[in-house]
Amino acid sequence: MTRLPVNLMIGAVLVGLVVATAALSLVWTPYDHTLLNIRDKFAPASPVHWLGTDQLGRDVFSQLMAAARNSVAVALTAVFIGGSIGVSLGLLASAIGGLVEDIVMRLADISFAFPALLFAIMLAAVFGPSLTVAVVAIAFINIPVFARVARASANQIWTREYVFAARAAGMGRFAITRDHVLPNIAAPVIVQATIEFAIAILAEAALSYLGLGAQPPAPSWGRMLSEAQTLMYLAPQLAIYPGLCIVVAVLGFSLLGDGLRDVTDPRLVRER
């Protein structure tokens, strides 16, 4: 490995930009993103409002920053929860095998076939739409993805000589899973997680666009997009900015994931 792949570097820069913006918005935005100033609505970009104001006179740049925080937080939480459950289930299936493996993997197949959007609508109908609903729905669609990756990778580890050695030495299945399997499947899981971040950010935007995610005044790229929809004639920039943000974030995480895949063990990746 002499030099890093281009996609990894571009991805890292874009992701760094999004994450830094999200982090910065915790301590500073040019304006309070919820501050209305209706008399100053649709202001053009200027030194006062860097990207102008929206239909209620809110500062667009501040909203985009605060929305980045929401997006990253939702994606991080959802992928972490979905990933933890999914990886645990995959490891369990692989360690025990037999009927348990069949049941876990068939359940994963079933939940894989269940449309995520339908699940989110169902949750929103029962609990009312909120960011929590978005997190749960996105976490849910991540479980089978991680379960599959973890099981497929773990099954290979279980055929390695050092695992046979450990078993011969009398080590239990769970101890082997913890000490030998988990560290060795970390790379593909991390690659998968990075790619799932991209999907999660897109999913959060889609859910918020449909009104199932972030509720006003919580900022969200998806909601900004849906609010800008009837304003295309008056102020097309209000749809373009959040759209661009979504593109940057999704592209960044996708490229980073691809790049990480390229630099980690290619054999593992091919066999997956």
Binding site: L36, I38, L56, G128, Q215, P217, T230, L231, L234
Partner: protein, 497 residues
């Protein structure tokens, strides 16, 4: 991979082009597609309060004894004429001859008696029982004559009898009217695809069928403003009499394919408060909320300036209007002080809003304005069915935003504690009694002004603005009322060119 993307891109372009050049389906018969924001959950105006039931079906599928024209004047409908006794308590209606229901059963005096008895019954499900309150008895003199006795004079009686709530239904079909409406009107029910459209067909047996131009009417339900605009631009719909997005009007005004007509409705948009629930049973809290919001900002932000502010529950174009918009000037400090005094400073309240742009947009602005006054208002966007069930029927809410589009509805505040306002005030009930039995127009207007002042003094709700009627019509569509004094829109006079 790139090839695949290219192919699908081509397919999308081809699809878009074919969509653009396919002409709207033209047919020999006259057919109109009308866009509508609010899909009801029932099609029976005599048992459900949803305004769009009346908007689609009253005086079109169902008919009442009387009807009302665009100016609000009472005209004959199923009653071709009537006489009133000198004391104003006895009405004798002569019914039209030869009217039949769409299922073939004949219309006669018994149907009128049945409909009124049903609406007036103890366990009546009529959404506007108040309309029938002054009636003592309804009886059939013969098959073509009905006599209605009132217990007290009722200035609005003939006007009220024109409303969808007073539709004359048949004992044979009333139970299924919620899904398959049967009436005597110039249009009959054809089909209802829930979530999509309601179709009516011309009733060739109607007594005035000769003067009805439309053969087929399709109501298309589109609640989303962007989708409504797209449907109009693609000429999928011909008329949108209650267009939800004022910000899009300039676009339609600039397009020669469309006519934009801005009128008024009877709809007072209010920030309704649940007066029976703490802290809203405290007038100081209600006044504080009235000081906290800024009407001009709401109208500017939510309606793009296309609405007239109101300070009470009466339309600005009405004869008894008094301007009370400055009773509670926007004053965040005053609001804070009142919240403090009532002990609710810094508390959390919910604002449950139905899925109409005027409501969701106003909610966002009001939320920010309440936040300035130290109140954390949680906005919950809910579906229409949920709103009718939880808020309207079960009073399960703190605050909501809704347009009351019924005419002459100051009586809402006299509907007792079970109505969703949760407002019960003996003084007001008495005032409303005097209003509804006052037949002298001038004296009545004076009382109506008193009622407006009383309700504003009590700050029962936040009174926001009068809902405008924003109509977008394809050029050549004619006969829609630019402003409405009632909920319904007769389609018998609508023509397409």
């Amino acid at each position: 991979m790139p090839k695949k993307i290219w192919k699908s891109a081509m397919a999308i372009v081809a699809l878009a082009v074919s969509g653009a050049i396919t002409p709207a389906i033209a047919s020999a018969e006259s057919s109109i597609v009308i866009g509508l924001q609010q899909e009801p959950t029932s099609l029976d105006p005599t048992s459900d309060a949803t305004a769009s039931i009346d908007g689609m079906l009253a005086q079109n599928v169902y008919e009442s004894l009387t009807t009302v024209n665009q100016a609000g004047e009472v005209l004959p409908q199923l009653a071709e004429s009537w006489t009133v006794s000198d004391d104003g308590l006895n009405y004798t209606f002569t019914l039209v001859k030869g009217a039949t229901y769409h299922d073939g059963t004949a219309f006669d005096a018994q149907d009128v008696v049945f409909s009124f008895d049903r609406a007036m019954a103890e366990d009546s499900v009529n959404p506007s029982k108040g309309l029938f309150k002054s009636i003592e008895s309804v009886s059939a003199v013969d098959s073509g004559t009905v006599e209605i006795k009132l217990s007290k004079k009722d200035a609005f009686f003939l006007f009220n009898m024109a409303q969808g709530d007073a539709s004359i239904v048949a004992s044979e079909s009333y139970e299924t009217n919620n899904a398959t409406p049967v009436g005597t009107g110039p249009f009959k029910y054809d089909s209802w695809t829930r979530g999509d459209k309601l179709v009516l067909a011309k009733n060739a047996n109607h007594r005035n069928a000769g003067s009805v131009a439309l053969d087929r009417v399709e109501f298309k339900f589109i609640s989303d403003a962007a989708a409504a605009s797209a449907a109009l631009l693609s000429e999928e719909i011909d008329a949108f009499p209650g267009f939800p997005a004022p910000e899009l009007l300039p676009q339609f005004e600039a397009d020669p394919r469309f006519n934009v007509v801005v009128g008024s409705t009877e709809g007072e948009v209010i920030l309704a408060m649940n007066n029976s629930k703490p802290p809203f049973n405290d007038v100081r809290v209600r006044r504080a909320i009235n000081h906290a919001f800024d009407r001009d900002e709401i109208i500017d932000g939510a309606m793009y300036g296309q609405a007239v502010p109101i300070g009470s529950f009466y339309p600005p174009h009405g004869p008894a209007y008094v301007d009370l918009t400055s009773t509670y000037p926007h004053d965040t400090e005053q609001a804070k002080a009142l919240f403090e005094e009532a002990g609710v400073a810094g508390s959390t309240m919910t604002l449950r809003v139905p899925p109409f742009p005027y409501a969701t947009r106003s909610a966002e602005i009001i939320q920010a304005q309440l936040a300035e006054a130290g109140i954390d208002a949680k906005v919950e966007n809910v579906e229409w069915g949920f709103w009718i069930d939880e808020i309207y029927k079960k009073q399960n809410y703190d605050m909501t935003i809704i347009a009351h589009t019924s005419p002459n509805d100051l009586g809402n505040f006299a509907r007792g504690p079970k109505y969703f306002y949760g407002y019960d005030d003996a003084d007001y009930n008495d005032l409303w009694n005097r209003i509804s039995s006052e037949v002298d127009p001038e004296a009545r207007n004076a009382l109506l002004q008193e009622a407006q002042q009383y309700l504003t003094g009590q700050a029962v709700h936040g009174f926001l603005f009068q809902l405008p009627q924003l109509g977008v019509y394809k050029t050549g569509v004619d006969g829609f009322w630019p402003s409405r004094a009632v909920l319904f829109q007769p389609l018998a006079g609508v023509t397409m060119n």
